[in-house]
Subunit: 229 residues, 4 copies
């Protein structure tokens, strides 16, 4: 059975991931990494201790950039495939990770958003950008979110540009009490409007994508970006 | 029958107003003012010529600020009640108009938005602001609109503040091909979101409010702001 | 300090209410009623046992109709003011409860929806109905919800009719995986559309309304319907 | 230059098409068919008279089913390629048209919706259906629309089923004053919602698709359904 460890195990996403791994039947939980050790939950503070408890096949790295760069590089150095859930990696960092993964003949995945709805929203936005002269993005999150625009909004904008849309579509960031994670992409042309909207109501929506990535990384060589393929 | 003249008669709103006045059964069209005369449609370029063709009871002033200040002041000076469709009037300008109207014992109305939906949106937003800690406004218009934020968005923000909401709710302005005039006001509190949205699909939606204002100004004394009362 | 007991204490709403009462500083938790006793949480199966543990001032009745009728009647008979969170009470049942409450000089409240956003949505819908010839309601809930249309949609339709809108506005019921509780009320007139939308993302959104109702019932005499007043 | 005639030339879509053809630079207007002749606009009542004025390359058939079947069959019989804008053609009728087109070595196109936004909405809906267990369609039109559900909604439902989605996704039909043509497709899965929405604000939005179809039919052989390919 596939052994999966979790970095950032005490964060909000990390907790969801640990629970999901413990409940899954075809993968097993191989411990966690965090700033504070929690022995009852096999959470340790450094990679060497984690390895001593049994080498995992995959490290699900749910820390944020730039910390995730060192953690995932270190995983590869120890022969563990990283599945990275962070946004913000630079092209140079991606290239460096790819080089190391290729050399060691291992897979690595960078998955900026594990939700199937968000992945489809971005794919559709890239496609629609070919046909509409006007594009704007409205992303809406709870007022505790510190960064703006969101990583998903920035990625969507990049995909739109890659899809032959405008170079830097405007991004509007709404921050409100009560909101969770929502995004609308609006496409306008004479006489009509196309809107693609994604609402994420709970972190549980990331679990199927996480498990799919963890399984997929085993048959990848080098770095693959996105679950889309 | 109530005689109504139109200032800004060749603009997009002015044309709609002139048609509506010609078709209405309880008011009559008393000519128009514009930068270019159109004799066939009784459109002249100055107030004196307009008066010579028969004094109107009301001047529906559909020019924009600051031009509308002089036109409406001039109407009052000639004993004609102004119904002003512009946004952007300063408190000092409003006060000056009110003073002149009171002195001449005439009514005047400043109606920043003639659409019943927009009026209700603003009224509801003012009311909801009492209960929600987070408020943001998203206004969306066609890409030919030059000003941002829209006058309606600014007014909505003022009403929200007046209704005990936050001082300057963020306004996001979307400009796209294909759009007409749309606005959303979002209210957030723990666990829930209330959204009030108005879509204006054609200028015809302004006609009932224009006619209501034209009738109402006859029984007003001094300046009344808004159709809401 | 106000002593509040909860009927339906083991239901989803009941659990949220019990937690909220335990955490509140100006009210105290006075035990619960459910089909199964949970001694550790002071949850008992009949009213007499509940009273023996100390008479509450208010019974927050979170059971569903028709069960809630007997429970709230029984509360009044024991001198305990009911705050009822159910929909579906008939006018005859409301009248009977009002009569008993008046006779005993006690208050009672029937609050079909404790969320401030839902209350405002219904209030605004009643108001907007005066001005728009077309009205339709779209309510959207998770696919585990058994009844359709929702109680809130039916109440909104009644309020619209009371507000001089059409007699039975169409209600569309969407049932989907992933949804929580959402409702849109659409108002159409020539050239424009007004939409009032409420999204409920968690049951925590009901807590402020529940606590407000529990406090308000102390100064009411007879039955009051709705938190709106 | 491509010569294009229009059937249903006096209908709302037909008028838009005739204007567009007259203004286009790479196609020319070759007259129209309608129940009433309008000599000034080269509109005649039967095919033979139309042909006598110069044979068109393409007949843009904007009549409705079942009338469109005879008209398009007759066009092919006269060597004119039909581009059909109707919904409601049966598989047997499509097959028959295809057979005749193949025999004459001519192209024919059946395009149920010429709007690029609607085409993308359907394409994306078919794709998303693979991933989401819950799907519902909400279509919203002005209250003068006689049929429900709309042709586009029925087609979207067929595409969803073809895309491995549920067999008959529920369709909700909203009919209101003030609305134009709008559709939402909602996709739900645990914790998230994906919405694809299309708003059509004017018939002008159909022009680019019409012209694209008229050009494309020249290089097609047999019947092609949809502009999508």
């Amino acid at each position: 059975m596939l052994r999966v460890a979790v970095a950032g195990a005490l964060g909000r996403m990390g907790r969801v991931a640990c629970s999901a791994l413990k409940e899954a039947t075809d993968v097993s939980y191989a411990g966690g990494l965090a700033r504070t050790a929690v022995p009852d939950e096999q959470i340790v503070t450094d990679f060497d201790t984690l390895l001593r408890n049994g080498k995992p096949d995959v490290l699900l790295d749910l820390t944020t950039h730039p910390g995730s760069v060192e953690i995932s590089m270190s995983a590869l150095a120890h022969g563990v495939r990283p599945v990275i859930g962070a946004t913000g990696w630079t092209p140079a960092e991606c290239e460096a990770l790819d080089r190391v993964a290729m050399k060691r003949n291992l897979g690595a995945m960078l998955v900026p958003n594990f939700s199937i709805g968000a992945i489809l929203m971005m794919r559709f936005a890239e496609e629609a950008a070919k046909y509409f002269p006007s594009v704007e993005i409205i992303e809406m999150h709870h007022d505790q979110k510190k960064d703006a625009p969101s990583g998903t909004a920035k990625l969507t904008a990049e995909r739109i540009t890659a899809g032959a849309g405008p170079a830097q579509p405007p991004i509007h960031s709404v921050r409100m009490r009560g909101l969770l994670a929502h995004q609308e992409v609006l496409f306008g042309i004479d006489g009509e409007l196309l809107t693609i909207r994604h609402d994420s109501f709970s972190r549980e929506s990331y679990v199927p994508g996480m498990l799919a990535a963890v399984r997929a990384v085993m048959s990848v060589r080098g770095l693959q970006v996105g679950l889309d393929a």
